[in-house]
């Protein structure tokens, strides 16, 4: 009996020390689910990493985009966050302000830095320190349906918003369930869909004096243009019930002539609607020739409270080798952020991607302001009000600008 007790205690002690040992080498990585390929990809990286580091145990947590920020907030407030996480680069400022993200410069050699295009590394540099590495990058361009263009007798891809309006009306005239211009009117990035025209008319989200640029002629003109497209039936009906995926679905079904979205639509079309005859072109320009596309990067950050920073860095080092980057970028349909990956024929010779990369000089990133999500939401609400016809563009945008100025002034 006594012997049993002793053996049991010894086994328990051994077990305890064993868990303590593995615990010290556990690496938790929170990743955003870009597509069904994301989870398996990271599991593969983890397996490769564990092979090189037999004492490490990598745990991948795949989280849908919609709830990522919520999960991170809850984890951080409960002090239960992972060691590494993918975040939207526009959130980074909050993470840096609160001392939650760890600076990476001490680990980064010049050699490592050269793996990236500097333009993508820049958004995560704050106060001279690099806090994140660009995991994914994308820009927006205009997709158009060549078949519908032909049927409507349009020969040139619209280069300005006036031409776009004209083409959209011609395409809409083709049939009741055909729309010329797919306009997103609800959920995430409703504001961004408005900025495409806003930037083309010369607007700036934050003016030089630090106030919102929505209450300018550019804002009024862009809103009036979208509203007139809605009223003349050049868009799909009921725009305020269409989120980005809904509009993309209409495009895949061949019911929409033009829409503006990210490069990943090409991958989806290849999978789901391979017969669709489409092209990719620049976002139309405004009357003065201005144009702007929305550039987005997602970064992977290391948490300041991580107990395994060196191990975490080694994982990042593996993640950003050309072989793994190529696999990720091709699988998810993002723009290459690494020169070596960009030179590979599958990216360099891809006509869709070329259009997107050509737009990068015009790319604008979400301004680095705390409270950006709230500003985006106020803007979305204002444009929805305009689309619904519940307020005139000037009235709605002036109100939104006033609210935004309150946040910017804080």
């Amino acid at each position: 009996m006594e012997k049993h007790w002793f053996r049991g205690a010894a086994a328990a002690a051994a077990l305890l020390s064993a868990t303590a040992l593995t615990h010290a080498q556990t690496l938790r990585v929170t990743v955003a689910e870009y597509s069904s390929k994301t989870g398996p990809y990271f599991e593969e990286v983890a397996a490769a990493f564990e092979e090189a580091h037999p004492d490490a145990d990598v745990q991948i947590e795949v989280v849908p985009w919609d709830v990522l920020l919520q999960k991170l907030t809850t984890d951080i407030s409960g002090n239960a966050n992972a060691d590494l996480s993918i975040i939207g680069t526009r959130w980074l400022i909050d993470f840096v302000d609160q001392g939650i993200a760890a600076p990476l410069d001490e680990y980064m050699t010049d050699d490592f830095k050269e793996r990236f295009f500097p333009v993508f590394l820049e958004p995560s540099v704050m106060e001279g320190q690099t806090y994140g590495l660009p995991m994914a990058a994308s820009a927006r361009a205009m997709y158009y349906n060549k078949t519908l263009f032909e049927e409507a007798g349009i020969e040139e891809v619209p280069g300005t918003w006036d031409e776009l309006a004209e083409a959209a009306e011609k395409i809409s005239a083709l049939g009741d369930d055909i729309a010329g211009f797919g306009l997103q009117g609800t959920e995430i990035e409703t504001d961004v869909y408005f900025y495409y025209a806003f930037w083309a008319f010369g607007g700036e989200l934050v003016e030089e004096d630090g106030t919102s640029g929505l209450d300018t002629e550019a804002g009024y003109d862009a809103a009036a243009l979208y509203k007139s497209l809605i009223d003349s039936g050049a868009t799909q009906p009921g725009v305020t019930s269409y989120n980005r995926e809904d509009v993309q679905n209409l495009f895949k079904q061949g019911k929409v002539g033009m829409m503006i979205t990210a490069p990943f639509l090409s991958n989806q079309i290849a999978d789901e609607a391979p017969d669709l005859d489409y092209g990719v072109a620049a976002i139309p320009a405004g009357p003065e020739g201005d144009r702007g596309t929305y550039g987005v990067t997602d970064s992977i950050i290391m948490f300041e409270n991580s107990e395994n920073k060196d191990l975490a860095w080694e994982f990042l080092d593996l993640l950003f080798t050309t072989e793994w980057r190529q696999k990720f970028t091709a699988g998810e349909g993002f723009l290459p952020v690494n020169p070596e990956v960009a030179e590979m024929p599958e990216f360099a010779d891809n006509p869709d991607l070329k259009e997107f990369t050509a737009l990068l000089p015009d790319a604008r990133f979400a301004p680095v302001i705390p409270g950006w999500e709230e500003i985006a939401s106020i803007t979305s609400d204002a444009v929805q009000t305009i689309y619904l016809g519940n307020a005139e563009p000037q009235e709605a945008l002036d109100g939104a600008a006033q609210e935004i100025n309150g946040i910017l002034g804080e």
């Binding site: 009921g238 305020t240 999500e373």
Partner: protein, 291 residues
């Protein structure tokens, strides 16, 4: 009579009370603390803020709109499902061929997760490819597609309807329990006295299932007031916050804008509101029962 300490009722209640305190009172205390503090985006406390968070919520114009809609939403669904569930329960209580099958069919929606139901409805309500529009067109009620979710005037009533539909199974179950507890002798006696079916319903059924009506109203009120999935999956409270109720507004405040202090203040207010609602209702119901 002296009691042994082992049978002291307070002592016997203690374990249950401790468990309840752990899962209810402790979070409530935490919530109260956060709501009175300055909090950063990640829920870390940064000092005492007094009532600032409460004032900020009160002065937000979206708050009053959401409060009003929460009232419409709760009352609409609770009484809507009540009015439909009573006849459904009466029918299912009758003895007819295939009754068990009919009961299963009525209960089935209960087995499906609320979020799933809401997402299916979102597809059905899609303006261009939705089942609802094509169904209504096929039977000739409408000529052109209705964009159900594009504006609040159509979206919110439809959301309440979905809420009623998913609340029916639970409410019906409670009523069925109540009906089966009424003895058949009462109806037989009433029939002998010459009472009509309507009289039997008014004088026998209704008074006897009143406690069940009350419990269903209280429980449904609590569920519906806090129900998040239907509105979130269909419109996310949009367009322009016009279908927001307090919970969806709370979610945006907390997890989208990162204002955890204000979100906690709102939670405390919602808790208080619901508590007042429930206590008032239970008090009223008990008073009328005593009479």
């Amino acid at each position: 009579m002296t009691r042994s300490p082992v049978t002291n009722p307070y002592l016997l209640v203690l374990p249950g009370f401790l468990l309840a305190a752990f899962i209810i009172l402790w979070p409530l205390y935490q919530l109260g603390t956060i709501s009175l503090s300055e909090v950063n985006r990640f829920g870390q406390l940064r000092g005492f803020a007094g009532l600032d968070n409460y004032i900020a919520v009160f002065t937000d114009p979206d708050f009053l709109g959401a409060l009003w809609r929460t009232l419409v939403w709760t009352v609409g669904i609770v009484f809507g499902s009540l009015i439909i569930s009573v006849p459904v329960a009466l029918i299912l209580n009758e003895d007819f061929y295939g009754r068990s099958l009919a009961r299963v069919i009525v209960m089935l929606p209960w087995a499906v997760s609320l979020t799933m139901t809401a997402i299916v409805w979102r597809w059905a309500l899609n303006g261009e490819s939705g089942m609802l529009n094509s169904g209504l067109q096929a039977i000739g009620i409408i000529d052109t597609n209705i964009q159900w979710l594009a504006r609040a005037s159509t979206a919110f009533p439809v959301q309440i309807l979905i809420g009623v539909l998913v609340t029916i199974p639970f409410t019906t179950t409670i009523f069925l329990g109540g009906l089966s507890s009424i003895s058949d002798d009462l109806y037989e006696a009433a029939r002998l006295e010459g009472a009509s079916r309507w009289q039997a319903f008014r004088q026998i059924t209704l008074p006897l299932i009143r406690p069940f009506l009350n419990i269903s109203i209280v429980l449904n009120m609590i569920y519906v007031f806090n129900s998040f999935p239907i509105i979130w999956a269909t419109t996310q409270g949009g367009p322009a916050n016009s279908t927001d109720i307090l919970v969806t507004y709370l979610y945006k405040l907390g997890f989208r804008f990162g204002k955890l202090g204000e979100a906690s203040a709102l939670s405390v207010m919602m808790f208080a509101l619901l508590l007042i609602f429930t206590i008032t209702y239970v008090a009223l119901a008990m008073r009328s029962e005593r009479q």
